[in-house]
Structure formats: structure tokens, C-alpha cells
């Protein structure tokens, strides 16, 4: 049974070849996946065009159900985006080096899920063609957006987050792009030459590189937290029972990390399977990810229960009704499914036998994501169905138009990701090299010792160093 995160005797050259191989000559399965994604996207596009021409009516949106799946899915994707930050930023700062083989695709996931999430606030607008009005541009009409609106906060937060995480992804990739540049031919070489920005791996670059990477990690962590608390503000800042809940920001952040990790597990397994990354995306690393996910799952479960408790003891009758209607109302089946997927299923992660069994983990991670999506839906819709005003109580089931667009968004995400894995190294080569290097040092301490001696008594200037072998 494999216990090491990675075999430290992998030659650096092998790492290059393995990863570069994964970027070349796509196989049948890849093209099938691409076509599938394209089909999904086209569904969404058709639905959106129809909606654009006819109005929001066909989506079955109505009074009082002004928001439904769009916003729910928007929150879902935003949540998804938090995993990358977690793995690359947080784990980087606390120096957990097992993140190294897997953080690259996690970050890519961050960027792409943001690019997906960003579409939904636009899609849900009644007059899409005027969406640019939410931007604070100086016009001679002298009108500005309403900066009090959490939707504007979203606009700011998402643009910031998208810019930063995209930059983070890119900066972290530069050394690898240099590697690609050195090994690629044709258009790829041109591309990488531009992208690697003349990286030549000298000490100055490495030194600044370490600094910026650390610094951006520091920026990204609070950003990620703020982004999802702002998204939660869309609800928490309203006065609607079931939305106006103090514990929403942490609750949303936890949920975000949760779904993010779940998604990482899914993609981990997929990539490992298709690209034969068994040596890099190893079972122990999967296990660590699973443990992390389990921890977050427990945090989330706790916050969920706290939310119920706080509403219950808060004793606001209307808020209570909203809560109860979630438990027993028309939407309750989905609510209970959400609780099952979100709270019961993660316990599978606690069992080592399951953790090490890829198919199981695959199913589990999918279930977790389903649960997280349902959570968002169950936050948005039941409150709209029952709020302060009895006369406006209503039950609404989304129509095909909404479902198609939600469905398509997964295709869109998949498409971006598929392109990414073939154009960019989805495993960070230089960091895996570092990882291997460190492990080696760690496992053969005498080498390290030598260095220390030679570094400490240098003025003594005695015998030549005996060259330890790599």
C-alpha cells in the first residue's frame, strides 16, 4: 500500500516528459468530452437566445419567484471557485507541500468556475443588453450605479477575484511555461515564448518569484473570504426571512470551500485516470484532500445546524415559518436530499477503505457537489415561496429554459477546462521537482549537514567539499 505522497526518486527529466506528454496528442475520449460539452453549451445558448427574445417569462419566473435557479447556480459556481485558493494559497502559506501536484488544476478550476459564475448575474437580468450599467463608468449623463446594492458589490468582488486568481494562476505557471517553451515546436512554441515572458530561471527571477507568490497568496485568502461573504450579502443584507441570517457569510464560505474540495476530488480522479498521473496524483494525496474535505464538511454541517438553531431560537415567527416550510414545504424533498448529501455522505470520507477506493470517491464527490448545489437552491427558493406576505405565497417549479441554462453552464466549465489541460501543464512541473528535491534532502540528511558545515565555517577555508550525489 502506497504511503508516500510521492516517490522522491523520480528523475526530474521524467517529470517533464510525463507532464508534457499529457499536453499532447489528445485521444478519442478527449474529443468525445469536447463534443459533449459543446452540445451542453449549445443547449444553454439556445435557451438564452429564446429568453433574450421573449423575456424572463418562459423560465417560469413569476411573482414572487423573481430569482430562481440562475442565482442559485451563480452562488454554486462562485463557491466552486474557492477550492483553488484554498489549495494554492492557504496550503502554500502553511507549507503543506503535498498540494504541489494538484494545485494547478485546482487554480484553473477557480478561474473557470468564476468565468462561469460571472455569466449568471448577466443571464438573469431582464434587460441583458444594459448590463454594463452596473459598472461605475463616468458618463456625461452623470448617473452612477447604486453602490449600496450587494449586486454591485458582487460585480466588484467578482471582477477583483477573477483578475487576481487568473494572475495567480498565470504567475505560478511561468516557470512551467518556460519548460514548455523549451520543449515545444511550432505555434505552441510561439505561444509559450510569449507567455513565459523570457523566464530563464536565474536566481533573481526565482527570488522575486517566491516573494510575489507568497504575497499574492496573502492577498488571495482574504479576497476569497470577502468574495463569498459578499455573495452571501445578496441574501443576508435583505430583510427576507430565511435570507436575513447573521451566520450566512461564514456559512457561505464554508459551503464554498466544501463544494470546491469536492470538485477537486472529482477532477483529481478524472485527471489521474485519463492522464495516468498515478505517480503524481497519488492515493495518499487524495487521502489528504479527502480528510481536508471531511473537516470542512463537518464545519459546514455545524454551521447549517447553527443556522437552523439561530432562526429557531431567534423566535421571529416569520423566519421560523420560512424555516419550517423548508423542512415540510413543497420543496422539502430537495431540502432533505441536500441535508443527506451534505451531512451524511461526507462520513464516507472518514473511512480509509473508501478514501482509497477511487470509484467510491468519485461517486461521493459527485454527491457532495449535488448537495452543495441543492443547498444554494434551497436558500434562494423557499424564502421566495413563503415570506412576509401571505397573499404572495406561491410554489414555482423552474421550466426547461432555466434547467437548460444551468445544465449548459457545466458544459461551458468543462469546455474551458478541457482546453486548459491540453494547452497548459495541469501538473506543476517545477513544484513537483521541488517537492521531490525536498523529500530527497529530507531523506538523506547528511547532504544537508554538509551544506550547513560548509556554510557555517567558511572563513576556516579548509578542505574541499565532498560532493554528495543526487
Amino acid at each position: 500500500m502506497q504511503t508516500k505522497d510521492i516517490n522522491e526518486n523520480i528523475a526530474w527529466a521524467k517529470i517533464n516528459t510525463d507532464v508534457l506528454r499529457s499536453m499532447e496528442n489528445p485521444r478519442m475520449g478527449y474529443w468525445i468530452a469536447v463534443v459533449a460539452c459543446l452540445l451542453m453549451v449549445s443547449c444553454a445558448v439556445m435557451a438564452e437566445i429564446y429568453q433574450y427574445q421573449v423575456g424572463m417569462g418562459p423560465g417560469n419566473l413569476n411573482w414572487p419567484h423573481m430569482w430562481d435557479l440562475y442565482i442559485a447556480t451563480f452562488v454554486f459556481w462562485i463557491g466552486m471557485s474557492h477550492s483553488g485558493t484554498l489549495l494554492s494559497a492557504i496550503l502554500h502559506i502553511i507549507g503543506a507541500d503535498w498540494r504541489k501536484p494538484i494545485y494547478r488544476f485546482a487554480e484553473a478550476m477557480t478561474t473557470f468556475s468564476l468565468m462561469t459564475a460571472g455569466l449568471f448575474p448577466i443571464i438573469h437580468l431582464g434587460r441583458v443588453w444594459n448590463m454594463y450599467w452596473v459598472l461605475p463608468y463616468v458618463s456625461d449623463r452623470g448617473i452612477w450605479p447604486n453602490f449600496r446594492s450587494p449586486l454591485i458589490w458582487d460585480a466588484f468582488a467578482i471582477t477583483t477575484y477573477l483578475t487576481s486568481s487568473a494572475l495567480f494562476l498565470f504567475i505560478g505557471m511561468i516557470p512551467d511555461l518556460a519548460i514548455c517553451r523549451d520543449n515545444a515546436r511550432g505555434w505552441r512554441q510561439k505561444l509559450y515564448t510569449v507567455l513565459s515572458m523570457g523566464w530563464q530561471g536565474d536566481d533573481r527571477q526565482w527570488r522575486n518569484f517566491r516573494k510575489i507568490y507568497l504575497l499574492m497568496a496573502c492577498f488571495l485568502i482574504p479576497l476569497a473570504v470577502s468574495v463569498h461573504s459578499i455573495v452571501s450579502a445578496d441574501f443576508a443584507m435583505s430583510i427576507m426571512p430565511g435570507w436575513h441570517i447573521t451566520s450566512f457569510p461564514p456559512y457561505f464560505v464554508a459551503g464554498a470551500l466544501y463544494s470546491g474540495c469536492a470538485a477537486i476530488i472529482t477532477l483529481f480522479i478524472i485527471l489521474r485516470y485519463f492522464f495516468r498521473f498515478d505517480e503524481y496524483m497519488t492515493i495518499p494525496i487524495l487521502e489528504k484532500t479527502c480528510k481536508l474535505t471531511f473537516a470542512i464538511a463537518m464545519v459546514w454541517s455545524y454551521l447549517t445546524l447553527i443556522e437552523f438553531a439561530s432562526v429557531w431560537y431567534g423566535h421571529d415567527p416569520v423566519a421560523k415559518e420560512a424555516l419550517v416550510s423548508r423542512f415540510v414545504g413543497p420543496y422539502s424533498p430537495f431540502f432533505w436530499l441536500m441535508l443527506f448529501c451534505g451531512i451524511i455522505v461526507p462520513f464516507a470520507l472518514a473511512v480509509e477503505r473508501f478514501r482509497r477506493h477511487l470509484p467510491t470517491m468519485f461517486v461521493v464527490s459527485i454527491l457532495l457537489n449535488l448537495g452543495m448545489w441543492l443547498e444554494r437552491w434551497m436558500i434562494v427558493t423557499p424564502t421566495l415561496a413563503t415570506s412576509y406576505y401571505p397573499f404572495a405565497f406561491d410554489v414555482m417549479w423552474p421550466s426547461m429554459v432555466q434547467w437548460a441554462i444551468v445544465f449548459g453552464s457545466f458544459g461551458w466549465f468543462g469546455l474551458l477546462f478541457l482546453i486548459f489541460v491540453k494547452v497548459f501543464p495541469c501538473v506543476s512541473m517545477y513544484e513537483v521537482k521541488e517537492m521531490v528535491f525536498h523529500r530527497r534532502q529530507h531523506n538523506s540528511p547528511e547532504i544537508a549537514k554538509q551544506f550547513h558545515r560548509r556554510a557555517s565555517d567558511r572563513q576556516a577555508g579548509d578542505e574541499q567539499p565532498s560532493t554528495g550525489g543526487a
Binding site: A11, W12, A13, N16, P136, W144, F147, R148, S149, I152, W153, F156, T160, S164, L167, I171, I174, P175, A178, I179, D182, N183, G198, W199, Q200, G201, D202, D203, R204, Q205, W206, R207, N208, F209, K211, I212, L215, M216, F219, P222, L223, S226, I230, A233, Y430, E431, K433, E434, F437, H438, I447, Q450, F451, R454, A455, R458, P465, T467, G468, A470
Partner: protein
């Protein structure tokens, strides 16, 4: 007198560092450790111990960018709100602190990140032409030690490299 670039490729850090420390110990007259550039596929954790501590301006960029972002962000919003007076709504103030603080916070991070990146690009001399002596091997698995030095020292350094099992030596006349 002609100046030369010379680079030795080593199979691992130990040999490379050994060579460098010899240079630092003035085994070669007229060549100082500050002329040394180390090219490597990864960054060695104890690199300062060998090359000495060479600082980085990037954090300053980050800090100033962040501060600018916050202040500019807040006043941009405030003046926008103050000049758009049909906006009083929901009984809230024309310049509401909660939202402006939230947005200023986002601006802080955005500008922080942007200026950090710019700082990095400048400090790391990115987007400059690659050095003629650059070798693909460096991005693969070898360590390069590069010096700029006078013609007379070239052979001395070569010998030094050879002592340390250099795999390959490249040289080039500096323009």
C-alpha cells in the same frame, strides 16, 4: 580588454554551490560572487547562504498598491455618490460607510495584486531578451553557474568548474 560570459552546467546543486563558494573564497582573483548568476530548474531553499542575501522590492509594490487602492477606491465612490444626488434611497445616507468600506476593501486587494504583478515584472527583469548562454537543460534538470569576467580569468574559472565535475561549459564574448 574583452569581457566574456561563461556558464558551467552542473548535474546538481552541491557541485554548483561548491564552485560558487570557491569563487566567493576568491580562488579566482578579480571575480566576485556578485558577478555570479545561478540558473536552476527550481529554487534551492538555502540559496541565500551561497549567493548572499539579495533583496526583492516586490513586497513594497504590494503595500503601496494596496494603500492607494483603498484610499482612491473610497473617494472615487464617495465623489460619485456625492455628485449623483437623485440617489438617496431606502433612508440610507448618500455616502453609506458599510458599502463603501466593502468596496474599498475590494479595491485594496485589486490594486494590491496589480501593482505586485507589475513590481514582479520589473524586479525580475521579465520580458527581456533571454541570455545568449541560456540552455534548455536548465529548465530540465541541470544547474547553471554564469559569470561575466575578463578574458584573462576565463581559463581559471574553467579549471575551477572542471574541479567540480562540470558537465558542460559555454562561453561567449560579451558585446
Amino acid at each position: 580588454m574583452k569581457r566574456y560570459y561563461i556558464m558551467g552546467l552542473f548535474s546538481n546543486f552541491e557541485e554548483a554551490f561548491a564552485a560558487i563558494s570557491d569563487i566567493r573564497d576568491h580562488k579566482v582573483p578579480g571575480v566576485s560572487v556578485d558577478d555570479v548568476t545561478l540558473k536552476s530548474p527550481i529554487e534551492h531553499p538555502e540559496i541565500e547562504e551561497v549567493l548572499g542575501d539579495r533583496g526583492s522590492p516586490v513586497p513594497k509594490f504590494g503595500l503601496y498598491g494596496a494603500i492607494f487602492g483603498m484610499i482612491a477606491g473610497f473617494f472615487f465612490l464617495a465623489s460619485g455618490q456625492a455628485t449623483f444626488l437623485v440617489q438617496p434611497s431606502g433612508g440610507k445616507a448618500v455616502i453609506p460607510l458599510p458599502s463603501n468600506i466593502v468596496l474599498a476593501y475590494e479595491m485594496l486587494i485589486l490594486f494590491g495584486v496589480l501593482s505586485t504583478v507589475i513590481g514582479f515584472a520589473i524586479a525580475a527583469r521579465l520580458m527581456t531578451r533571454r541570455h545568449p548562454l541560456y540552455s534548455e537543460k536548465v529548465s530540465l534538470d541541470q544547474i547553471g553557474v554564469m559569470l561575466e569576467l575578463d578574458e584573462k580569468n576565463v581559463n581559471l574559472v574553467k579549471d575551477l568548474f572542471k574541479q567540480h565535475q562540470v558537465l558542460e561549459i559555454r562561453e561567449e564574448v560579451a558585446s
